[in-house]
Symmetry: D2
Subunit: 441 residues, 4 copies
């Protein structure tokens, strides 16, 4: 995560003051529940709430100073939650001894991480919405714009540019569902004390805190929330990154000099190359390709984080401190960039047509073959007859249609006007409505 | 995937004859639908069905010969589906020219892969059931067996061995849900022809084939089914492998010589080491740890498979031919081994108690501290008083309880009988019922 | 590793009979050394040698039967080396009690793996030689064939096709060096007994076996050879796979319909698509792209294999049994395929020229800009003047040269003949000799 | 990379001002060479040198302002090198038009990255030196301290704590060699202009800049330095991280409550747990385990970075901007932490002896078996006799030695004093000198 590839809203989720704010909320909610249960005095809960508010106001007013103060305490205690509680005690006063009773640090840390990851997932869901909105708009705009479909990078058969975009829209719709599921998976609360036995804390405290934070109680937290939940989230981010890379790769291909069917918006004043003033490069989508690699790379350590020792070890912590922000900030930035690229994509229908025409109807080879089989030629013979002319046409000396019209075997089955009618672009786009109805309803 | 780590049922899914069987079904179902739509003669569909049955019977009778024959044709055509269709034509006769009309190879290949991955996921769901059944049984058996909970590998506070197992049960319950979701994600059918436009095939053919095979039609297949679906499945397998590794690691730790609280079943005749006859090693769970690494390793190429070029390229194919079998066969074998390890695990409650007792009550330090705060000592002072005696106790010269009873600061707050009462194991297991109710209902 | 992507020589390295052959050699060499040291009788060593020869002859004559026999014994002992020794004893007779004295299984297993990985590396080095030979030959053939260099997929400036290939040649030359280093790293021998202390085996036995097998003695083997050596080898294979993918990607791009500057050889009888007879797809290089993903995927578990517990655990074993063959067989196949692709690559210099010409000299923009600065225009002004005309030219209405000749600012600095002279292809290839000398000497 | 896991010296390498300093050097050296070759006026080179010095002095005095200024220009040009050159021009004056002549941005960027990675590798080499120094010191200190060697977590046979540490020393010695090789691999210079043809820049300029910066000229730079070099470096960092994790895992195991043979230094004031005052956790080595996962995770995107399109695309850039700092800063921090952990490790020889004694001589089982075979018992019978008593001993009712002394089969071969003599710890450490000589010379 570096400023160049970051957006403030996502960065804010991972800033110390947001973390400390959630810590403070958790401790205050827990005290409320403990007061209700008679474990601590009501008055103590009230002064903890009040002290927490003061502490958070002070933190909000001057985050740098207060974060530094907590860090300073941590350098002595070598324990972050204890450092925070020590700092908080100054605002709460003597009742601070009732704070965190029966809890363990992980109750605070893991529940906080669940809140942060839920917040991050919510932002990412919004990002996907933006990408989908842009894709939908442009898909409808180019619904009937013919373009060549390519398999293996080789001209295959006609499709429309709208259908291309509709496919990517559908992929992001799937990603939205997956992310929503992963968000739910990771949104659990643990206030269960050391090794998760609730020995010193009533399970109803956990229920209260969970409800207040919009989380579900973790069925079995062994001091920590089990890391398969987090692994699932990061793996899902990896899949989303792959969908993003897929679309970015499409655009990079379309902008290739020889293809030039679409282009990233090139703003006035922009320079494509310090050496070559003529350059207009798909730098945004190339960048997205790289960012996808990064997000994918964070999946591996997240999966390795699952096998903690016994009830917990803390090896996961450094990984999550790093990839928690890194993966979400990078993907948030990337999805927003992607939405912008799609919205502003410059599309060249005339180039699509030109590329399409360049091969003299070669892409209608299947339809000619099928017509031949329908007139009784065996599939093998039809394939051979069509392939023979197609291969000749690749050499560039004659168009495929002309060659077919001159082929005796083909003409034995098909009259000239029948043959010519097979070279009809609209035939290939007859089901575009069906596809769009599937995707956009 | 190697025989040593394979089970026949899963291997069979990936054998050529199963693949060809599904291919044959797809072609036959498609012909049925085309006949219904009047695209091909009813009689042709009938003879294709009949020919297909004959072909499959021949294949079943002598798979090696027929697979070899298809491979031989492929060496000429360099195209697997064409090779298969050529072979099939011998059984179908002249009507074979109606087979595969308007379809493209990927229609067959990708729909087949969806069937195979669904079959594989079904086996894996059964495997998880077995693991869960074993965990549930042993969890109930040891529900109230006290054992020390450990964080960082260090004694923390008491829990029960049943609670440990219940936590792993809950993890596999989550894995089951995730796998069911991933199975649904991957179970789609594409019969949409070249670049997925349905130009030469009616979408109703796809609907028919999908219904017959228990799949959903793919909304936008660009000749291929989009690879985010497969990536999601393999990523989910990686997460399941992580849960397995977590449990395997627990058992490896419990079997350590110094811990010896549980042991893999050691069968008569088994040898632990060629050099050291005294050895009884947790080789099965070590093996599971390695297998988890393998399954995790397959996630990376699956994620890289997403960004195909344009409507499709075929780079994904070699990856899936390999990790399709490798990941599912390995995980299937591993989950079955895991279920067996749990079922047959030899548990030593007396060793659990002995380890528990070895530290002289040190693990009750929190309860002493909390009692002190409840008697008015500040949290900081209570922590210091308890830590001071605990650190002395670690040296091994005196038990923690004895030291506390001799500590003037502590005794100022707590009478001797009050203090002794804090060293009560049952206090820590009071909520085991609650936890079990959450997990097992 | 599947037959489709395998070559026999590499597969043979990993077959059980090769493994058993090496086991047998190690035991026999160790007995020889022990006899020399007087630890076992000379006669015993002789009968072990003789018995080993008989055993290996039997194995060679009927590998299936003998491998099955050893597997059968292993099912009882659950220990592979013990099963082998039991089988071997039948050939050796009573002196078999002197076999494996003071050794531990890992001495045999790890030293064998070192031999197998060395053999595999040797094959891979030969593969790289083939790739380099093909690249060298084609690079020299097309040393002076002009082609457009592309950055970001966009035409940049001229280069030659030979220079492209020379760059890939240089990459494989680096890979060769890296693989040679990794081979040396992994080629060590451990005959050090349980936990590697040589308690029951003289270090001179290790020295003898190492010398016989062409390995170096492992300085500290803690029963196992440390796994950083293996990790380094697999990581190196991942880097080689990346170089292969880079070249494969280049060819896939060159074969794109719109580019068509080079093409994989398309053999008579080959079919590009079951549906579209006109297709000629770069399926081999797409395949190589997928295979590169696989090899890269094996790096992760190899790196995870390093952190074994204490003197050793056996979690690495299942990983290595799988990726040992999988990574080396896949890469061996892939490199051979790559060499063939390069050797048989169909190159179209006239298409290179046509693509080059299509943009009307746009790619000489830098040279025009530099000429303007040399005539006193500031870099910023020169960039602006050139970019202005280039962007106009992209629209396709006029060639860049024509636009420059009509630009007053440019013409103020450059006479018409001076300007035209800047559009000279040969200017860009003046240093091709220098580059070739660097690469090929 | 986050401040918590960073050291200033490594962070400084990646700060903008270091990057700009290297950019400035490269441009100035290139101008010097061009002046010598007569391409630009000597006076221009002199004023560029002087302007560069002024610019760098200004940057050093107030990096924030100047970095912000360059960023501001980049927001317009969307090109970082052009932004820098524009900023630099203010210090150089009119002669700035001679700067960067014939060069392309990548010449600057890639050569700079080579310098930064070389600097980073140099720091990491120093880090490894520290780790080795600590390991050597402690290895010598505990050279003869007996401890049990463990395979599979199970007691195997005796070794010494010094031998354990010597093994890790040897691993880091290998890592040092690998890193030195990777550093050399990545330390190349490219000043070859657009698509690397030297069209507008003499190769002698590159040679001059390379010499000045201590780099080798890149044989074929296709505008960029090929990314297999970088991949190799990051892969090597992953292997080093694995060696670190291996040692960290050892320490975590040794500190387990039941083992307690060594402990991370626990400083006064430190708190192990907010809830449990008795805790002393191996948090540093757990942290190193997590950091190893991170460094390993960066290998994957580095390998994916290799397959750039044609002469280059820029997808690698975002990856390197992130993992360049992240991987090197994290590993630098981790290696330093590791050195500290080793230096300050608290070792408990008496606990080693106690653990050793706990099993009543079970670990001498091999020696008893070998003695039996030397007295004529077959290996199989000897194994069975010893295993029989060992398995009985595991039950905890009698010591292994006592059981053997009472075993008639054993006693038939071995007199009582012969048998007792086999339980001799020193027998197992007789070759420690040999091992130390191999490692430390």
């Amino acid at each position: 995560m570096i400023p160049r590839y970051s957006r403030p809203a996502m960065v804010a989720i991972w800033e110390p003051q947001n973390r400390f704010r959630i810590w403070c909320e958790i401790e205050a909610h827990a005290c409320d529940a403990m007061a209700t249960l008679g474990v601590i005095p009501e008055a103590a809960a009230a002064s903890i709430r009040a002290g927490g508010r003061k502490a958070m106001a002070a933190m909000a007013a001057d985050p740098a100073t207060h974060v530094a103060r907590i860090d300073e305490i941590e350098r002595v205690t070598k324990h972050d939650v204890i450092a925070f509680l020590t700092w908080l005690a100054d605002f709460v006063g003597p009742d601070s001894r009732f704070v965190h009773q029966g809890m363990t640090s992980s109750d605070v840390l893991d529940t906080t991480l669940a809140v942060q990851l839920s917040q991050a997932a919510d932002l990412l869901l919004e990002d996907i919405d933006k990408v989908q909105a842009a894709l939908r708009k442009r898909a409808l705009e180019f619904k009937d714009t013919p373009t060549i479909g390519r398999s293996h990078g080789i001209h295959a058969e006609p499709t429309t540019f709208g259908v291309k975009l509709a496919g990517h829209y559908a992929a992001f719709a799937r990603c939205r569902e997956r992310l929503a599921a992963a968000r739910k998976d990771v949104a659990t609360c643990a206030i269960s004390g050391a090794v998760g036995t609730f020995a010193n804390i009533d399970p109803r405290v956990e229920a209260h805190v969970a409800a207040k934070l919009g989380l579900a109680p973790e069925p079995v937290s062994t001091q920590v929330i089990p890391r398969d939940r987090h692994a699932m989230l990061f793996a899902t981010l990896g899949v989303i990154a792959g969908c993003m890379e897929n679309l970015a790769t499409e655009i990079r291909h379309l902008q290739r000099t020889e293809v030039r069917e679409a282009e990233e918006f090139f703003s006035p004043g922009q320079k494509g190359s310090s050496a070559m003033p003529h350059k207009r490069n798909p730098v945004l989508t190339e960048n997205l390709t790289g960012l996808a690699r990064l997000v994918r790379g964070y999946v591996v350590p997240a999966l390795e984080n699952q096998a903690l020792w016994h009830e917990r070890d803390i090896s996961h912590s450094s990984v999550e401190r790093t990839i928690g922000p890194d993966a979400t900030v990078t993907l948030d930035f990337a999805l927003n960039r992607l939405a912008g690229v799609i919205e502003n994509l410059v599309v060249y229908p005339e180039r699509m047509q030109a590329n399409f025409d360049a091969l003299g109807g070669l892409v209608f080879s299947q339809r000619v073959m099928l017509a031949l089989t329908q007139r009784g030629m065996s599939r093998e013979d039809a394939y051979a007859a069509v392939q023979r002319n197609a291969m000749e046409s690749w050499k560039g000396n004659a168009s495929f249609m002309a060659l077919c019209r001159a082929d005796a075997d083909i003409r034995r089955c098909l009259a000239d006007d029948e043959l010519v009618a097979l070279f009809d672009l609209r035939y290939h786009t007859q089901h575009v409505d069906t596809i769009f109805k599937r995707v956009f309803g």
